[in-house]
Amino acid sequence: MDIEALKRELKTLVVEECDMDIGADEILDDEQLIGSDCRLGLDSLDALTISLAVKDRYGRHIDSGNETRAALTSINHLAAFITAE
C-alpha cells in the first residue's frame, strides 16, 4: 500500500473508532490529533482506542514509550510509525 492510501485509511479509522462527526477527508495529514487545545480534541481514551485498532489492523504496538507514543501526534506520524522497518 502506498503512503497516501495508508493515510486515507488511517483517517477513516480515526473517525470511525472515535465516533467523530467530521468526514475522514477533513483531517489534515499534519494536524494534531490528541489534546483539548487542538481542533480534533481527541482525548486519552481516543488514543487508547486508536492504539488498539492500529495493533489489530497493522500489527504495530503503540506502547507507553515516548517514541511510539509520538506516533499519535498526527496522521503523518502514525503512517510513518506503521511503515517503519
Binding site: D19, L45, T49, L52, D56
Partner: protein, 291 residues
C-alpha cells in the same frame, strides 16, 4: 411524606417477535432534539436513557439538587454481549469504550451532564422489578430530605439477534418483544400540579404479606391492577377485587414502567396497582391519579 409525580416521559418501541424480520431503530437522529451537545462514544443503552429522560424533562431544566436514579433489568446488555464475544470467542481485547460502557452507570453520567444535574446519581440493576428498586431508593432520599426532587428512569434495551434475546427473557420466538426508557419526575407533595401520587412502593416477603398489604387499604371499585409478569395463582387470589390493565406492551424487563406511563397519561382519578413476582416475594406499587 406524600410523593407526587410531577412529570413523566418515555421512549418505547415495539420490536415484533423474534421469528420475524426486524432491526432495532437507529436512535442517533432522535438524540439531537433532547441533547444539549453531541455525545461521542455512547452506547445504545445510554442513548435510550438520554431519550427517555429528555422526553420527561421537556424544557431540559431541573434544579441542581435533583437526584438521578436509573435502573434496569439487564443494563447495557448489547455491549456486554459484544465484550464477552470479543474476549472469549474472538480472543481479542475489547475496545476500551465498549468495555467502559458495560458499566451501565455511565448512562447516569451522560444524563446528568445533559440535564446539568450535580446531586446524587445512582444506578441499580435488578432482574425483577427494576423500577420499583429505583423508586425505593429515590423515595427514601426524598423522605430524608437529601434531595429536593428525584428523576427516576428505568431502561431496558433489546439486543440482536432477537431470538437470542427472547431466550434471555424466557419467552418463545413468537412473542412480541419491546424496549423502553421510562422516566418519572418525583417531588414532595404540594410542590407542583401532579399527574398522580405515588402512594406506595413496597417489597413483600410472601403471599400472606401480599394479602395483608391489600387489606391495608380500601380498594375502590375503580382500582385497576397490572401484572408485570405472570404471577402465581395464590397471588392472583390475594387481590381478586382488581382487574388487569391491558397495556398492550411487548415483553421486556421494564414493562411495568411502561404500564405506569400509560396509566399516567390517561388517569382520571383511578388507582393503579402493580404486582411483580420475584422468586416468592412480591414488589408492589400503588399510584393514585389526580381527579
Amino acid at each position: 411524606m406524600r410523593i407526587e409525580v410531577a412529570a413523566a416521559g418515555e421512549y418505547y418501541a415495539d420490536l415484533g417477535a423474534a421469528d420475524q424480520l426486524h432491526e432495532v431503530k437507529d436512535l442517533r437522529p432522535l438524540l439531537a432534539a433532547v441533547c444539549r451537545e453531541r455525545f461521542r462514544r455512547i452506547d445504545r443503552f445510554t442513548q435510550l436513557a438520554l431519550l427517555g429522560s429528555g422526553h420527561c424533562v421537556r424544557d431540559g431544566r431541573l434544579p441542581a439538587d435533583t437526584g438521578l436514579y436509573i435502573s434496569s433489568g439487564f443494563g447495557s446488555i448489547a455491549n456486554t454481549v459484544n465484550v464477552q464475544r470479543q474476549m472469549f470467542i474472538d480472543r481479542r481485547v475489547p475496545k476500551p469504550l465498549t468495555f467502559i460502557n458495560t458499566l451501565s452507570n455511565s448512562a447516569g453520567y451522560y444524563v446528568a451532564r445533559n440535564l446539568g444535574l450535580t446531586a446524587r446519581n445512582q444506578f441499580v440493576s435488578r432482574d425483577a422489578a427494576p423500577l420499583e428498586a429505583a423508586l425505593q431508593l429515590a423515595t427514601l432520599d426524598l423522605v430524608r430530605g437529601d434531595i429536593g426532587q428525584a428523576l427516576v428512569g428505568v431502561v431496558d434495551e433489546a439486543s440482536l439477534p432477537l431470538d437470542e434475546h427472547a431466550r434471555r427473557l424466557g419467552v418463545g420466538a413468537d412473542v412480541p418483544l419491546a424496549e423502553g426508557s421510562h422516566w418519572l419526575l418525583l417531588r414532595p407533595a404540594g410542590a407542583s400540579v401532579p399527574s398522580a401520587t405515588l402512594a406506595a412502593v413496597d417489597t413483600l416477603a410472601d403471599v400472606a404479606a401480599l394479602s395483608a398489604w391489600f387489606a391495608r387499604f380500601d380498594a375502590s371499585p375503580d382500582a385497576r391492577i397490572w401484572f408485570a409478569d405472570d404471577v402465581s395463582p395464590p397471588a392472583r387470589a390475594a387481590c381478586p377485587m382488581l382487574e388487569r390493565l391491558e397495556a398492550a406492551l411487548g415483553v421486556y424487563r421494564s414493562r411495568t414502567a411502561g404500564a405506569v406511563l400509560r396509566y399516567l397519561s390517561g388517569t382520571t382519578g383511578e388507582e393503579l396497582i402493580t404486582v411483580v413476582e420475584d422468586d416468592g416475594r412480591y414488589h408492589v406499587m400503588r399510584f393514585v391519579g389526580r381527579l
